[in-house]
Assembly symmetry: D2
Homo-oligomer: 106 residues x 4
């Protein structure tokens, strides 16, 4: 499946329901935070969780992320790769290897 | 760019830094929530935001989502489409059209 | 220190800076979520964290909670106690003892 | 109602259910983020929300905040006031008046 087919499927879903009016950048950002909370709830009291539920909650976060990317006129894959290049320079292998510190504390 | 190339690029980045040890399902879920908060911060006091910053924060959320999907052994695109089918049945067009209500309040 | 003195101190701080215009219910709710993400960041890669930083981030969450309560015209202490009574009936001791399950799964 | 009475009521509730075992600092931080997401959900598609639901969700966030403060051995009121003094110096009235900018952009 290609990225643009996925975006088209989501766009049709939203258009069919006339939901574009609700999908401002801000509302989509809120929705991502809300769904991220539901994903985190899978791990509220334990580091293990029902795999099926995690997959479903992750899908919800991803759905709003792709909708927000589309609203911004960017492709999800592209911005992830572009950010990766920035992150690589902030976390050089020789400094960051095996450490979970933030770049400004390395 | 194909989905698996993106996943490979992220995997190499993580492996090179020996960060797999930190990327438990739970830690990735926490990371998604943390980055979702930073994305929301773009809209803290206003419904408008600097586009460039929104794109960058969204890329961070997406990065952890793709890493979590990979850890779960699923593909991001696939689980979004599978969840879309479920959501379609929860929000039938004739009931949900033009409304932002939750499915159990339609 | 009494609850109303705390609320007064926060109100003066906000009024002096003419920030009431930014403190809509929605913006305060967003702010709570944003600060909750920063608190969570203390535990991103580990279950231990610098105590001092946790205290400071928790204070930020609490500050916006008290401001939101004040905007809603309620007292933080009162609504916590009222909710506690509801929660008690949802989690009866004999069912909930030693379990972290949600009330609808007990 | 005094702060310590509230803390005692929450402690009894938790102790009666033998839930202290689940209330690590990290789990309480996660719980605050989860409940903050539910609070935000009240405003997902609109800046208005059902007041009663907002109050209830806010109470949930506050409850976990007070439990976390208690676990850290600090009082909620005290840390809010201490943080307020720090914030005052970061946002001097003459610079911050009427502006929603972050302190490092004032």
């Amino acid at each position: 499946m290609r990225q643009d087919e996925l975006v088209c499927a989501l766009r049709s879903f939203v258009d069919d329901r006339e939901w574009t009016q609700f999908h401002s950048l801000e509302n989509l950002a809120k929705s991502i935070a809300i769904e991220a909370g539901e994903l985190l709830e899978c791990f509220q009291w334990s580091d293990s969780a029902k795999r099926e539920r995690v997959v479903e909650e992750l899908a919800d976060v991803l759905t709003y992320c792709i909708l927000l990317a589309d609203r911004l006129g960017v492709e999800a894959d592209t911005i992830v790769l572009e950010k990766l290049e920035i992150t690589k320079t902030k976390y050089p292998v020789e400094l960051a290897k095996g450490k979970s510190d933030r770049y400004d504390e390395l």
